[in-house]
C-alpha cells in the first residue's frame, strides 16, 4: 500500500466539516439488486459528495471475480458508497448504498444490525433481482420500505399487484420514486422514518 504522508491527503472541504457538537450518527441502508439505482439515490440525497469505503477480501472468501494468473493470493476489493445528511448540530445521518450480495455484508461490522432501517429499491423490469436482499432483511428483522425506481421503459404495475408479487404485508410502505431527484429520494427516506415511527407507536419489534 502506497501511503503518502498526511499532508497530501485531502480531507473534507471546510464547509463539509461536522461541528464539534456532533454527538452521534445513525445509519440507513439502501439496498436492491444490481443496477437498481442505489448509488444514484445516495448521490441525490447526500449533502456531501458521495464517498466510498472499501473492504478487502482474499480470494478464498470471495467466490466471484476470480483473477487467475496472478502469482500471489488475489485480494478483491468490495466497495460501498455512502452519503451524509446533517440532521441537527448534534445528530448526523449516513446512507449506505450496500452491495446486493449478502456475502459481502459481514465485511462491515454491524452494517445491518445497527441500521435504523432500509430502503429496498426495485426495478419493475427485473423485480426478482431485489428478492434475495428483501428476504435477508426480513430474516434479520431490519424494517424496510420499498421504492419503485421508475425507469422510463419499465412496465407499470398497480401497487396492489406489486405488493402481492413482493409478498409484502399491508403495513410495509411501497411508493414510486425517481432516485435521480433529491426531493423524490428524500420523500422515500421520510416515508421510512414515518414507518419506523409507526412501529415504535405500536410497540412491535423491530
Amino acid at each position: 500500500m502506497d501511503f503518502k504522508g498526511s499532508e497530501t491527503i485531502p480531507g473534507p472541504r471546510t464547509e463539509d466539516q461536522l461541528p464539534q457538537t456532533a454527538e452521534a450518527a445513525a445509519k440507513i441502508v439502501i439496498v436492491g439488486g444490481f443496477g437498481v439505482g442505489k448509488t444514484t439515490m445516495v448521490g441525490s440525497v447526500s449533502e456531501i459528495k458521495p464517498l466510498t469505503t472499501e473492504e478487502t477480501m482474499t480470494q478464498a472468501g470471495v467466490g466471484v471475480d476470480d483473477n487467475f494468473g496472478s502469482a500471489s493470493k488475489t485480494a478483491t476489493t468490495v466497495a460501498m458508497d455512502f452519503g451524509r445528511i446533517k440532521i441537527t448540530e448534534q445528530l448526523v445521518l449516513y446512507l449506505f448504498g450496500t452491495p446486493g450480495q449478502e456475502r459481502f455484508w459481514f465485511l462491515w461490522n454491524g452494517l445491518f444490525e445497527g441500521a435504523l432501517g432500509a430502503v429496498v429499491l426495485v426495478d419493475t423490469r427485473r423485480l426478482e433481482v431485489s428478492f434475495d436482499v428483501m428476504g435477508r432483511l426480513e430474516e434479520r428483522g431490519v424494517p424496510f420500505v420499498v421504492a419503485v425506481n421508475t425507469f422510463p421503459d419499465a412496465p407499470r404495475y398497480p401497487f396492489a399487484d406489486l405488493r402481492t408479487a413482493l409478498d409484502l404485508s399491508d403495513d410495509v410502505p411501497i411508493m414510486d420514486c425517481d432516485v435521480r431527484r433529491r426531493a423524490s429520494s428524500r420523500d422515500v427516506l421520510i416515508t421510512l422514518m414515518r414507518f419506523l415511527h409507526s412501529l415504535a407507536m405500536t410497540g412491535s419489534r423491530t
Partner: protein, 135 residues
C-alpha cells in the same frame, strides 16, 4: 403481464448462517483481511461505520506513524470511521485497527453510534424526519 413472485421470509432468532458456500477454503468464519498497514488482528475496538471519531490532541506524538498522523489531522472535526476510510483510501478493517491504537493512546475519542433497538426512540425518529424535510 404478471410480475415474478416472491416469498416472504420470517425473522430468525439466531443470526443467519453464513451464505451457502461449497468450497473448502470458505469454512473459516471470516475471510482474511489485509493488514499491510495495521499489523495483526489484535483486540479491536468495537467501531461501527458511523462511530464518530474526534481528535483529542492537536499534534501527533513523535511515535506516530504517517497513518496515525493523517487520521489525527482528518478528525480535528468529528468524522465517521467510514469517512476516514474513504479519505485515506484504506479498507475499513485497517482503519479500525489503526484507531484501536489511537484510542488506547488517548489521541482520539469515539462517539458511539445510534443503533436500532427493539423499541425505537420516537423522538430520534421525529428529529430525523424534521431534518429530512429541510433538505
Amino acid at each position: 403481464m404478471t410480475p415474478p413472485q416472491r416469498q416472504r421470509r420470517s425473522p430468525q432468532e439466531d443470526p443467519p448462517p453464513q451464505p451457502a458456500q461449497d468450497k473448502k477454503e470458505d469454512e473459516r468464519p471470516n475471510p482474511e483481511r489485509l493488514y499491510v498497514v495495521a499489523g495483526a488482528d489484535g483486540n479491536r475496538a468495537d467501531l461501527d461505520l458511523v462511530t464518530l471519531i474526534v481528535a483529542r490532541v492537536e499534534d501527533p506524538p513523535h511515535s506516530a506513524t504517517p497513518e496515525h498522523a493523517a487520521l489525527l489531522r482528518l478528525c480535528a472535526a468529528p468524522l465517521s470511521v467510514a469517512e476516514l476510510s474513504a479519505y485515506l483510501s484504506l479498507p475499513f478493517g485497517v482503519v479500525t485497527v489503526l484507531l484501536t491504537d489511537m484510542l488506547a493512546a488517548e489521541l482520539v475519542q469515539a462517539r458511539a453510534p445510534i443503533v436500532r433497538k427493539a423499541l425505537p426512540d420516537r423522538s430520534l425518529l421525529e428529529a430525523v424526519m424534521h431534518g429530512l424535510q429541510r433538505l
